[in-house]
């Protein structure tokens, strides 16, 4: 059987595929609007305006075969992004961009437009990212791999390096120390622990097994260890305690992946839920290390934030202090009604 290219070559067909899968190009990338014209119609339009995981605007350009204006359009778009800067967020409020976030440009193409992409990748434009989609079929379904031709810092790479350069994780401001600490801890778990991903999302793997994920949202850093299908617990990594608990869970995931867990208890495989329970309780042992936070000190520092109080009280509590009294009064009235002689005692 003869098959043609899996990805369509016409702009409309390619865009219909790419626009629905932007999150594969970069984790959290979401299309918000289409057809941005920043050159007075002379150079065509930007195919998509997207919002990344950090809430920053991303101008997405599509490169197709025979697009003679691609370089000129890329230059115009990059110039527009630099000129408009953070004002773009205010100008398109419906896109809900994060205030103060600067726009950047991503050019997406296919093998057919490879030569054009390589030329674009050589443009000395800060922040420009260029990627090529490599289609393939697996189990009867069509997929595409994203091959980056520039680094996040817009360092231009040669064609020979096309598939290799990992993109740097955009560590949220003020979270650099946590990021460094986490990487150090993971290296202590095992030198084979790897980080890979994109600007806003990183996978933590060991020997091909997924141990956890790490991602940034706005200015916060989140992590989730993969201890099983039933472990949806995601944690914001703010304090040393958060980091320690997260690395504890990563260690646990590592011991499961490496088969170290088998030596400890069950003679036969336990169901996933049971393993989860065991996981939680075994973690207690690590919490008991001398370096760990003591129970009393943890209790001494336990506070509920005003946001937590407010959320527990809902809108009613926020409206006034008498809400709790009103609830109690309602309850007392209801109890009195229930105690009335008409009711069986």
């Amino acid at each position: 059987m003869i098959r043609g290219p899996i990805l369509p070559q016409l702009r409309e067909g390619l865009w219909s595929i790419v626009s629905h899968r932007l999150t594969l190009v970069e984790h959290g990338l979401e299309l918000v609007m289409e057809g941005l014209d920043c050159s007075g119609g002379q150079l065509g339009v930007v195919d998509g305006l997207a919002r990344d995981a950090a809430g920053a605007p991303v101008l997405v350009l599509l490169a197709v075969d025979g697009d003679a204006l691609l370089i000129a359009r890329t230059l115009a778009v990059a110039d527009f992004a630099a000129r408009v800067g953070e004002a773009l967020a205010a100008a398109v409020p419906e896109a809900r961009f994060c205030a103060g976030a600067l726009p950047r440009v991503i050019v997406v193409g296919t093998e057919a437009s490879r030569s054009s992409l390589e030329q674009v990748a050589r443009l000395p434009i800060p922040g420009l990212q260029v990627c090529r989609l490599e289609p393939f079929r697996i189990a009867g379904s069509e997929r595409f791999a994203v091959l980056w031709m520039t680094t996040a810092a817009a360092g231009v790479v040669g064609a020979a390096q096309v598939t290799s350069p990992p993109r740097e994780f955009a560590v949220p401001a003020g979270r650099e120390a946590e990021w460094r600490h986490l990487r150090e801890q993971c290296q202590r778990i095992d030198p084979g622990v790897r980080f890979d991903g994109d600007r806003h999302w990183q996978r933590i793997t060991w020997n091909g097994s997924l141990l956890g994920e790490l991602w940034s949202e706005r200015d916060a850093l989140f992590g989730r260890a993969r201890l099983g299908a039933a472990d949806p617990l995601r944690r914001e990594l703010r304090t040393e305690t958060d980091l320690r608990q997260f690395t504890d869970r990563l260690l646990r995931a590592f011991s499961l992946a490496a088969g170290l867990e088998k030596t400890s208890a069950a003679p036969e495989p336990a169901p996933a839920s049971e393993r989860l329970a065991a996981t939680r309780h075994a973690a207690a042992g690590r919490g008991a290390t001398p370096a760990g936070e003591s129970l009393r000190s943890m209790l001494a520092t336990m506070r509920l934030s005003p946001e937590e109080y407010s959320a527990l009280g809902g809108t009613a509590l926020a409206a006034g202090e008498q809400t709790e009294a009103a609830v109690v009064a309602d309850r007392a009235a209801a109890v009195d009604a229930a105690r009335s002689p008409a009711k069986p005692a």
């Binding site: 617990l233 208890a265 065991a278 939680r280 919490g287 008991a288 943890m298 527990l312 229930a338 005692a345």
Partner: protein, 260 residues
């Protein structure tokens, strides 16, 4: 069975749930871990010769402190009114851990009736269990304290699965509403998923009953009894679905005691 606030009805629920679980065919034991203010033996209407105090003092063994009740479940009575019991140290907690291990081995279901609040002794006993049933009332104060307890448990890194029972509900559905609020806040701020077990209605007939006459036996058809039976079934389903943890209760408690 735990709560952030006192007086939410933990001991009442523990005793009646134990009877319900016994009726559903399980070998069940209630351990009154409300050190210093224990009252489960009053609810069961028994006066055991040995209590938790004897166990912790080394005077009695784990087998000796487990006493039978006329309603079916076994009971380990606490030391009511003994001030020293409220300030147990690590050595006492280790003794308790060893005893709980033996008690757990001899029963299918063990209900730990823990003390209210965030004292280390209470937390350690809660963290020893694979499932923590937080008992609260629909009022804001009780909900806030329940959330504080959940937050504390989650921060331990060895958090049991958290379930919620809303007691003293005056209108049907209030428990669900209270739970949804707590679920939202817990999920948003501490990433904890709380499982709702059910609500127990406020019932004057139950409130004014005599001690030693659990409503499940004296008023089996009242709304409270029906609700308790429903919660007991839900709890046993949990046990069936999720199985027992492979690590022992003693190991889990010792891990927490080392952090004291």
């Amino acid at each position: 069975m735990a709560s952030g606030k006192g007086g939410t009805g933990k001991s009442f629920l523990a005793s009646n749930l134990a009877i319900a679980v016994h009726r559903l065919g399980r070998r069940v034991c209630v351990v009154d871990c409300d050190f210093g203010l224990a009252n489960a033996h009053l609810l069961f209407g028994v006066n055991p010769g040995y209590t938790m105090q004897h166990l912790l003092d080394g005077v009695a063994t784990a087998e000796q402190v487990v006493s039978a009740t006329p309603h079916g479940p076994s009971l380990v009575a606490g030391g009511s009114g003994i001030a020293a019991m409220a300030e147990l140290g690590p050595r006492h907690m280790q003794a308790l851990a060893r005893a709980l291990h033996q008690i757990a081995a001899a029963h299918e279901v063990v209900l730990l009736d823990c003390g209210a609040g965030l004292a280390p002794q209470s937390l350690i006993t809660v963290l020893a269990a694979p499932h923590a049933v937080v008992v609260t009332n629909p009022e804001i104060a009780a909900l806030t304290d329940a959330y504080a307890l959940v937050k504390c448990l989650v921060r331990q890194g060895a958090c049991p699965e958290v379930h919620l029972v809303v007691n003293r509900v005056v209108q049907p559905g209030m428990g669900q509403q209270a739970c949804e609020r707590l679920q939202t806040v817990s999920s948003r701020f501490v990433g904890c998923d709380i499982h709702y077990l059910g609500e127990v209605p406020e019932d004057p007939a139950v409130s004014f009953r005599r001690l030693g006459q659990p409503p499940l036996l004296s008023l089996p058809e009242c709304a409270t009894s029906r609700a308790v039976m429903g919660i007991a079934r839900a709890m046993l389903e949990l046990e069936g679905d999720r199985g027992r943890p492979t690590s022992s209760v003693e190991a889990r408690m010792m891990a927490q005691i080392r952090r004291w």
